[in-house]
Amino acid sequence: MQKLRRELPLHLMILPGVILLILFQYVPMAGIIIAFQKFIPAKGLFGDQKWIGLDNFRYVFQLPSFTAVIGNTVVISLYKIILGLIVPVIFAILINEVRNKRFKTSIQTTIYLPHFLSWVVLGGILIDILSPSDGLVNRMIKAFGGSPIFFLGDNKWFQFTLIFSETWKEFGYGTIVYLAAITGIDPNLYEAAQIDGANRWKQTLHVTLPGMKMVIVLLMVLSLGNLLNAGFDQVFNLYSPTVYQTGDIIDTFVYRIGLLDAQFGVATAVGLFKSIISFVFVSVAYFSAYHFADYRIF
C-alpha cells in the first residue's frame, strides 16, 4: 500500500501520454475492423456497419495495379535502404580523413541541411530544376550535347530519380552516427597499424571499417523494418498519373483509393496488409538487433 502511494505520482506523470497514445494509436489499431466492413463514415468508426468478410482483400488482390504497387514499393525501398547504408559510410570515412577542422565542420553543416527541409520544399525545387524544358539539370545536359530527360514524367527515369534524390537528401545526416562510431575507435589501434607499416588505405580497411562494423550491422538490421516504406512524402510530391506505373507505392495507393475515391474498406485492407508485413519485419529486426548487438530500445 505504501509502495503504491510512492508510485502514484509516476502513474500520474505517464497518464496524459498514455491517454493520447490510446486515442491516436490504439483506437486506430482497433479501427482496422474497417477492412472487413462496407464502411460508411456517417455511421461512425465503431458504428453499425455492414460486415463483408474478406471481400475488400479479394477485390484489391485481383487488381493488376496492386501487384505493380507492391513491386514498386519493394524495389524503391530496397534501393533506398542499400544506398542509404553504403553512401553515408563512404562519406563518413572521407570526412574523417579531412585534417582542416574548419573545412570539416563546414562540409558537415552543409550536407546535413537537406535532411531538415520538407519534401514539399524539396519537391518544389526538384520539379523546377528537373523540368525538361528549362530546368537547371536539363540545361546542363543540353550544354554537354545530350538530349533532355523528363526525370519526373518518364517511367524509365522516375524510380531512379526517387532513389537518387532520397539518397542525396539523407546521406549527410546518415554520416552522423558513423562519425560518432569512428570517434570511439581507440587511437592506439592506428598507432599500432602505422608501426606495422599500414598506409592510410590499409588503416581504413583494417582499423576504421572494423571499428564501425557494429553500427553498420545494427543499422542494416533496423533498416529492414522500412522495406514497405518507400517514402510517401517524397513520392506524393513528385509523382503524377503518367508515372503511376513505376512510381505508385502502397502509401500513395492507400491515400488515393481511401481518401480520394472514398473506398474506405479497401484502403484499410491494404493498410492492414502493409501493417502486418511491416510488423513482422520490424519485430524480426528489433529481435535480431537485441540478440546480436545487445541493442535495447527501452
Binding site: E7, P9, L10, M13, I14, V18, L20, L23, F24, Q25, Y26, P28, M29, G31, I32, I34, G44, L45, F91, L94, E97, V98, F103, S106, I107, T109, I111, Y112, P114, F116, S118, V120, V121, G123, I125, L126, I127, D128, I129, S133, D134, G172, I176, V177, A180, I185, P187, A193, Q194, R200, L219, L222, F232, G258, L259, F264, T268, S275, V282, F298
Partner: protein, 295 residues
C-alpha cells in the same frame, strides 16, 4: 596522441577527397541558391531560363505578390500557432512520460507494462484510414488540435530523453528523496535542470517536425484557411491548384511569372529552417548521438 592517422603534407588523396566533399556539399546548396535566384529575377528572365545562381534583372515582384496574399499570412499564422502549441505539448509529454519510464523495475513496478505500451506503437499501426476516421470521430477536423494532438507523444524522442535521464547519477535523486522531496520535485528540480542539452534536442526535433508537416494539414483541414504554411505551399507549388484564388488574383498572376512566384514561396517555406539551422545544428547532432541509433 592523435586520434587520426598522420599524413604527409601533400597527397593526391587529400586533393581528390577535398574535391569530392566540396562537390557533395555544393550539391546540397546549389538547388536552394538557384531557386532563390529565380525568385528574385524578373518573370521574363526566369521564363527564358537564363537564371543560374544569381538573379537576372533583379525584381521583388513575386515577393510583393506573395506578401499581399491574405492566404499566405493566414497559413503562416496557423503554422506559428502550431509550432508553439505543438512544440510545447510535445516537450511536456516527452518529459512527463520519459521520467517514469527511466526508472528501474523495483522503483516503478508498472514500468515494463508502460514500456510495452509505448513500444507496440513503434511496431504496429492502424494505417491511414482508421487514423483519419478516429480523428473525425473525435470531431477534431478543421481544428488546430488535429495538427497537435495525434502526434503529441513522439516515442523516438521519449526514448532519447529516458536514455538521458538514466545517465543522471541516482545519488542525486536518492539524496533528494531522503530530504523529503517527492517524485514531482525530483523531476522538475533535479532531472529537468540537468537535462537541458537533451531537452533542447527534443524540442528542436518537435519544432522542425511541426514546421515541416504538411500531409496532416492537407487531409485534416477541409477549409484552406486552416492550412499550415507547408500544406498551403504544397497546394500552390506541387499540386498547382489555383481554385483557391480570386479572379483578381488570377489576373494579377498573369503579370508575374508562375515560376518566380512558385520559387519565392518555396524559398520562404525553407527560409526559417535555413536561418536557424546553422546555429542549432550541433543540438541535432548531439541528439542523434545521445539517443543511440535512430529507429
Amino acid at each position: 596522441m592523435q586520434a587520426k592517422p598522420k599524413s604527409k603534407p601533400f597527397s593526391w588523396f587529400s586533393v581528390i577527397n577535398t574535391i569530392i566533399l566540396t562537390l557533395a556539399a555544393l550539391s546540397c546548396l546549389v538547388p536552394i541558391i538557384h531557386i532563390a535566384a529565380i525568385s528574385f529575377s524578373s518573370s521574363s528572365a526566369a521564363a527564358t531560363g537564363i537564371v543560374t545562381f544569381w538573379p537576372v534583372d533583379f525584381s521583388l515582384n513575386s515577393y510583393q505578390y506573395v506578401i499581399k496574399r491574405a492566404q499566405f499570412w493566414q497559413s503562416m499564422l496557423v503554422s506559428l500557432e502550431r509550432i508553439t502549441l505543438g512544440g510545447g505539448i510535445n516537450l511536456l509529454l516527452i518529459i512527463l512520460s520519459s521520467f517514469p519510464l527511466s526508472k528501474e523495475r523495483h522503483e516503478f513496478r508498472a514500468r515494463s507494462f508502460y514500456a510495452w505500451l509505448f513500444f507496440i506503437t513503434m511496431l504496429f499501426s492502424g494505417g491511414l484510414i482508421p487514423w483519419y476516421m478516429a480523428i473525425r470521430q473525435y470531431k477534431l477536423l478543421d481544428s488546430i488540435w488535429a495538427l497537435v494532438l495525434p502526434g503529441a507523444v513522439p516515442v523516438f524522442s521519449v526514448i532519447l530523453m529516458l536514455n538521458f535521464f538514466r545517465q543522471i547519477p541516482k545519488e542525486l535523486s536518492e539524496a533528494a528523496c531522503i530530504d523529503g522531496a517527492g517524485q514531482w520535485r525530483i523531476l522538475w528540480q533535479i532531472y529537468v535542470p540537468t537535462s537541458t542539452p537533451a531537452i533542447a534536442t527534443v524540442l528542436l526535433f518537435a519544432l522542425v517536425g511541426h514546421w515541416n508537416s504538411w500531409f496532416d494539414g492537407l487531409i485534416l483541414m477541409n477549409n484552406p484557411d486552416h492550412y499550415p504554411l507547408q500544406s498551403y505551399i504544397q497546394t500552390i507549388v506541387v499540386q498547382r491548384t489555383y481554385s483557391m484564388l480570386s479572379r483578381e488574383e488570377i489576373q494579377q498572376l498573369a503579370t508575374i511569372s508562375d515560376r518566380t512566384l512558385r520559387s519565392a514561396q518555396i524559398f520562404l517555406g525553407s527560409l526559417p529552417i535555413i536561418l536557424v539551422y546553422p546555429f542549432l545544428q550541433r543540438y541535432f547532432v548531439k541528439g542523434i548521438v545521445l539517443g543511440g541509433v535512430k529507429g
